[in-house]
Amino acid sequence: MARVVAAMAMTHSPGLTGWFTRASREYQELALQATAEMRRRLEAARPDVLVMFSNDHLLNWPINNMPEYTVGIGEEHIGPAEWFDEWLAMEKYRVPGHAPLARWIVNEGGRRGLALSYLREMQFDDGISVPTHYLNPDAQFRLVPVTMNCTVPPIPTPERAYQVGARMRDILAAYPGDERIAVIATGGLSHEPGGPRYFWVDEAFDRWFLDLLKRGDHAALLRECTLERMEAAGSGGTAELLAWVLVLALTRGPADVLAYMPAVAWRSGTGMVVWNEMA
């Protein structure tokens, strides 16, 4: 059976590639060190495939038809989407997919009461592209992208994301193969993309959230970190942390917070986290 061998999370702010040098040298070095450490731990875990959970920024689906979750089932994934390559200052990348696993997730999800949309060809913005740039730059790991709705009302709650994560854990574990799987959440921390507080980050919220992860008490996090609390820390963006909450359900115990930067220049609270124990 397949096994989840690594779990991690990182911010996917487009500033991390698009206007990286606009942040202080200290933040640039912190981000580079933290993502290098994530890559080092990823390589040590020897995954065959990365299952990456990220917000869909209204790119793959129109606002009148936004699924809660979408799985990319293609044999290969190519990004960034044309509209985003200049924004992200990135060359095109190609990453092999894992179609059998992706299709398993969709179908086994259905059998287990989880409605998952799918796309054979998915477009990628910062949500998948920025983590791919830092964690899988030479495409050595296959990719199953899973996008989620974190920004179109009704935004799912953290409890819901955690429940989906728990179900995803069972779905992955039941896959009839011996794949080693890394789960990666992307998005957050506090930010309000395009909103009136577009330039703001909420350092107090971010440090509080990361402390909850360091404590490793899932029940406390779900009790205290409500969707309303996320929205107050940056509407329409901070709730990308739902991806982190989903991945949390596949882990156990405290997370290592590798870095935190209240990076106004990148227009996002910026953090990198790794869990040591899988659930």
Binding site: W19, L59, I63, E86, A89, Y198, E231, G236, V264
Partner: protein, 114 residues
């Protein structure tokens, strides 16, 4: 809940932007004939004028999803190095002077403290 709840999921601008971002021909039309494009997608006059005037506050008051607003500005100003000092983001300073001033003060404070 927050600002994102103010979006109008049925607003024609939100529908138009989904297609414009994915289609180079429509992006060219946006640059050369915004009024005609707006008419085809059945935008109201107020929507068209908010876009034409590059006014984030009016766009959001009408129900444009906040995520599309910087993307709309990119269509006018381009994307390269869209830092906090870019021309596109000057529109935010004009539309939301108080919020922007607070954020810039925060940035200065954070940079001074390090």
């Amino acid at each position: 809940m927050g600002n994102v709840e103010r979006c109008d999921k049925t607003l024609p601008t939100n529908e138009m932007m989904f297609h414009v971002r994915r289609d180079a021909v429509l992006r060219a039309r946006f640059a050369s004939d915004l009024e005609g494009l707006a008419r085809e997608f059945k935008l109201s006059r107020a929507e068209y004028e908010a876009l034409r005037d590059k006014d984030p506050r009016r766009m959001m008051d009408l129900g444009v999803h906040q995520y599309y607003v910087p993307q709309i500005l990119r269509l006018f100003f381009g994307a390269a190095h869209n830092s906090n000092a870019s021309a596109a983001l000057e529109c935010y300073r004009r539309a939301y002077p108080e919020e922007t001033a607070q954020a810039m003060a925060l940035q200065e404070r954070l940079e001074r403290s390090r």
